[in-house]
Amino acid sequence: MWVLVLRRSIQAIGLLIALSFVTFLALALTPGDPLAQMEGRLSLSPEVREAWRRQWGWDQPVLVRYGRWLAQVARGHLGYSIAYQMPVSEVIGARLGATLLLTVAASVIAWGVGLPLGIVAALRAHTWIDRLHAVLMTVALTTPRFFLALVALLLAMVTGWFPLGGLHSPGIETAPAVPRILDVIHHLVLPALVLSVHPLAVISTHLRGALVEALQADFVRTARAKGLPPWVLLWRHALRPALAPVIVLLGYSIGSLLSGSAVVETVLAWPGLGQLAVEAALARDPDVLMAAVLASGAALMFGNVTADVLLMLNDPRARIEG
């Protein structure tokens, strides 16, 4: 089993390198170099420009530059942000933490609410509860994230229940731990709720479908014929096979949460990686963009490998196959 996990991990790293190469190539094809972005703020003499170009290696061919970039990333240096005028790792560090916090919170909500909803809908299949569930989930699935974020923003303004953006209140850094954590949670609620709506609907509808199928399976009928109580039927017999497709979704949902968070973070002013990536795209800050793509790609790969492991833990057959 662990050999399989190892193989998947190596594959994932290969994909990640390919992804970074493709992105690097796209960014390198930009007409002009990043120096052109600084022109607006600094007036540079041609000699200085040449010196800088040589210093940053922008006079080299693309492949050489990519090789250098890769070597530098392998040593743990992510490059230098032109817009922020500081190393990318410093720019990204705090942002990554904020995005992980948001993503984890949204995942907890999505799974914590989505699974029970899916179970209830499956147990009451083809009743009004199931139909209501289907309608609600369709609405949740089709609502654009940034529109939802705007509506949430309006709600926060009208009711005044939630703070308008930011990771914490200004000046809270010196407060004791408990109010500080409560303050961050207060800021976290709205973005996490908005971000969780879409994965919640995906999880819930998939679990409902799989569970309805599992409840009709022969082995469940046999178990019912033995006279087992309904909750044993559900928890021990039907739920486990029904969880398989939902677990596969886990990997997808981790990756999509991270890239989906870009819009939500931008609208709700959550200082995370997504917001940074959007800023970097508008400011044309190549090293920051590369790091953001790399980080979200890594999250996606991590999600896929995690899903594989969970699948194997859930289903003995998956441990042999593959």
């Binding site: 992804l19 992105t23 654009p144 529109f147 819009v263 931008t266 959007v278 795209a281 790609g297």
Partner: protein
């Protein structure tokens, strides 16, 4: 032909038919945007900055009922904060099929006819009480209010359907054609080409799409013309979505390749071109088309999100995404919530296309009859 029977099957499914008609209806509305929208979506009215929607009324102050809806114009009371109040002394009514500003329709056809417009109410006309300003600058009717530049939100909304549908349709066609051709060839010939193609498809499918779109969009100049930016969006969407179609087509071709009817055609001396064209691709057509249809909503959402972030359809050209950008400003959003209207439009269209994809899939699946479920 397999495709004809596939289409007939979809048409026979009542839900799929209804949704297909609705989608065609929306496309027709978008095509006739110049006629349905009362004004040019780019015209700025400096006297109507952030103007609220005009309130259509049927009952006047004396309680009399009017069959023809009318409204009172807004009067600016606070130019600093753009606050308006109704001017009850003046009354305008809605008229349908009127001549107004000439507007381009499509393919160079122009129309000066519009679905609706306004004129001053009959009492005012009889009394000959015309405001001088009315004659110089006819009053504009804002069904959904005006944006911070004084442009008609309704006209922009109607015109905004065009880039959305155009991008979705072109992306669908591109993803389908490329995915279908590559997937079919890879499935039939196999070998190194197949393996390489599937690795690339895997790469494309496993990347964080929005981040990649951001990075690639950033690689292009910030200011692009409308045509170039539309084409760029389509190219980006095709680039990330052909793989799903290719994988499905390849799977179909692979499983069909060893079936008896293909083997017998081979034994009769049919060449690979004939077998692909005649036996394999027609049978893979429906699943591939369905996969492409299912991706329609994500194209719509992608266009809206990128335009919203300022990386898609450029101003002043209206798109639902870039219209919502105005609502990102907290104070604007709070005081002028009608600017959220394009959000509902996106939502409705995504809902329509999602349901359409589901219905088409259900209609083409012989196991999934639309009779009542078994239990």
């Amino acid at each position: 032909m397999a495709s004809a029977s596939g289409f007939r099957r979809i048409w026979a499914h009542p839900r799929a038919r209804r949704l297909l008609v609705a989608a065609l209806g929306v496309s027709l509305l978008a095509l006739l945007a110049g006629f349905i929208a009362p004004y040019d979506p780019r015209t700025q009215d400096r006297e109507a900055v952030k103007m609220p929607p005009h309130r259509l009324r049927f009952r006047d102050a004396e309680g009399r009922f009017h069959l023809r809806p009318f409204f009172h114009p807004w009067r600016i009371v606070d130019r600093a904060r753009w606050r308006y109040e109704e001017d009850r002394s003046r009354r305008y009514e809605l008229v349908f099929f009127v001549r107004g500003e000439p507007a381009p329709l499509f393919l160079g056809v122009r129309t000066s006819w519009h679905l609706f417009g306004v004129r001053s109410a009959p009492s005012a006309r009889r009394a000959g009480v015309f405001n001088r300003e009315d004659r110089e600058r006819p009053l504009r009717f804002y069904l959904l209010g005006a944006d911070p530049l004084g442009r008609d939100v309704f006209s922009r909304l109607v015109h905004g359907a065009r880039p959305a549908l155009l991008i979705a349709a072109l992306s669908l066609a591109g993803a389908f054609l490329i995915g279908f051709a590559l997937g079919g060839l890879a499935g039939y010939y196999g070998g190194i080409g197949d393996a390489a193609l599937m690795r690339i498809a895997e790469l494309v499918e496993s990347v964080p799409i929005l981040f990649l779109l951001l990075a690639w969009r950033a690689a292009l100049p910030l200011q692009l013309s409308v045509e170039v930016s539309l084409f760029t969006l389509v190219a980006l969407f095709v680039l990330v979505s052909w793989a799903a179609v290719a994988r499905i087509t390849r799977g179909c071709v692979l499983s069909l390749k060893t079936q008896d009817f293909v083997l017998s055609a081979l034994a009769l001396g049919a060449g690979p071109g004939w077998i692909l064209r005649r036996h394999l691709l027609p049978n893979a057509l429906t699943p591939a088309l369905i996969q492409a249809t299912v991706m329609l909503p994500s194209f719509l959402l992608g266009e809206a999100a990128l335009s919203f972030l300022g990386l898609g359809v450029p101003e002043p050209e209206p798109s639902w995404g870039n219209m919502l950008t105005a609502a990102r400003d907290l104070s604007v959003l709070y005081a002028h919530p009608w600017l959220l209207a394009p959000g509902f439009a996106i939502w409705g269209l995504v809902l329509l296309f999602t349901e359409l994809g589901e219905a088409v899939r259900a209609a083409s699946d012989p196991r999934d009859s639309h009779s009542a479920p078994l239990m």
